[in-house]
C-alpha cells in the first residue's frame, strides 16, 4: 500500500530507508477473529451487568425480609411474653420455661411460626403490651445495628 504523499515526503526529507522500503505489520490476525470478538465483548457486557444486578435483587430480598421481620419479631416477643405471663399458672407435671433449652425454643418457633398471630397481643393488658412493644429508642437502635441489611427506600417509606 502506497504511503500518503505527506508522510512519504517527510521520510524522503529524512533520507530514510523507510522511504524506499515499506514497513509492514509483522503479525497475522486469526481468521474470524473479529466476528468472535464482538460476541465475546457482548458476553462480557452481559456478565458484568449480571454481576452488578444482584444489588437490585438483594434490595428486593431485603425488602421482603424486612417486611416479615417486624411481624416475626413481634410474634417472638409475644411468645416469650406469654411464656413469662403464664409461667406462674403452670400446672404440675408441665415442663417449666427454665427446663427448655434455647434450641428447643427455636425449634418450636420455627415449626409453629405460621400459627403466631399478632392479634394475640390484644389479649395482653396495656402494661404487658408496653413491655413487649419496642419503644422509639429501641427501634432506632435496631435499625442502626441492622442498617446494612435494610433497603433505603423502605427506610424512607417508614420515616
Amino acid at each position: 500500500m502506497k504511503k500518503n504523499k505527506e508522510i512519504q515526503e517527510e521520510l524522503e526529507g529524512l533520507n530514510s530507508i523507510l522511504s524506499k522500503k515499506e514497513l509492514k505489520d509483522n503479525f497475522e490476525i486469526p481468521a474470524d477473529y473479529f466476528e468472535n470478538f464482538q460476541k465475546e465483548v457482548f458476553n462480557k457486557l452481559d456478565i458484568n451487568e449480571e454481576l452488578q444486578s444482584p444489588k437490585i435483587g438483594n434490595a428486593k430480598t431485603r425488602r421482603i425480609n424486612f417486611r416479615y421481620t417486624l411481624p416475626i419479631a413481634a410474634s417472638l416477643a409475644l411468645l416469650l411474653g406469654l411464656f413469662f405471663f403464664t409461667q406462674k399458672n403452670i400446672p404440675e407435671g408441665t415442663i417449666a420455661m427454665d427446663q427448655l433449652s434455647s434450641e428447643d425454643i427455636e425449634s418450636y418457633i420455627n415449626e409453629n411460626i405460621d400459627d403466631f398471630d399478632v392479634e394475640l397481643l390484644s389479649m395482653l393488658d396495656s402494661d404487658q403490651q408496653n413491655l413487649l412493644i419496642p419503644n422509639d429508642v429501641q427501634i432506632e437502635d435496631y435499625l442502626d445495628e441492622n442498617l446494612d441489611d435494610l433497603d433505603q427506600s423502605l427506610i424512607d417509606e417508614l420515616f
Binding site: 500518503n4 529524512l14 522500503k21 509492514k24 509483522n26 497475522e28 473479529f34 464482538q38 457482548f42
Partner: protein
Amino acid sequence: MEQEIDHKILALIQDKTSIDKGFRLLMDTYQEKLYRQVRRMLNEHADANDVLQNVMIKVYRSIHKFEGKSSLFTWLYRIATNETLTFIKSKKRKETSSIDNEDLGLDKSLRAEHSIASEEVQYYLNKAMEQLPEKQKLVFNMRYFDEMPYEEISKVLDTSVGALKASYHHAVKKIEAFIRQADII
C-alpha cells in the same frame, strides 16, 4: 465518509432501543484499526485481544460522555492508547524475568512471525521498531502505519506537534541506525 459513519453510530447509540446496533457498527468500523494499533505495541495476540476487549467495554460504558470535540476515532484511539500503556505497566510489574530473558522472548516471538513473513529485511525493520521506547513507538505507529496528521496525534497523546515531530524523526533515525548496524542492507 468517516464523519457520516460517526454520525450514524452516535445517532444509533443515543437511542436506547438501538444502542447495541450502534455499538456493533462502531466495532465493525474501528475494531481492526484499533486492534492493529494495540497489537503493534504488545506483540502477542492474546494480550492485544484482552486489551481490545477492555477498550470496547469502556467505550460502551462511556460513549455517552463523548462530546464530539475530536473525531470519534481520535477518542477511541485515546482510550486504546491509555489502556495499552496501562497493560504494559501492569505486565512489567508482574514480570519477574530479567530484561535479557525478556529480550530473548521478544526475539523468539518476532522470529516466529518472521517465518510467516519470510522476508529478512522486513524482520529486521520490525525488530528495529521493537527497540523504540513506548511513547516513541506509539508516535511512530500513529504516524507511519495509521498515517495520522500530527494535529490528531497531538489530541490523542496530549503532546505538542513540535514534540511529536521530534519524536517521530528520532524514531525513524533509530530504526535507520539499527538497520545499518545489523548490516543487512
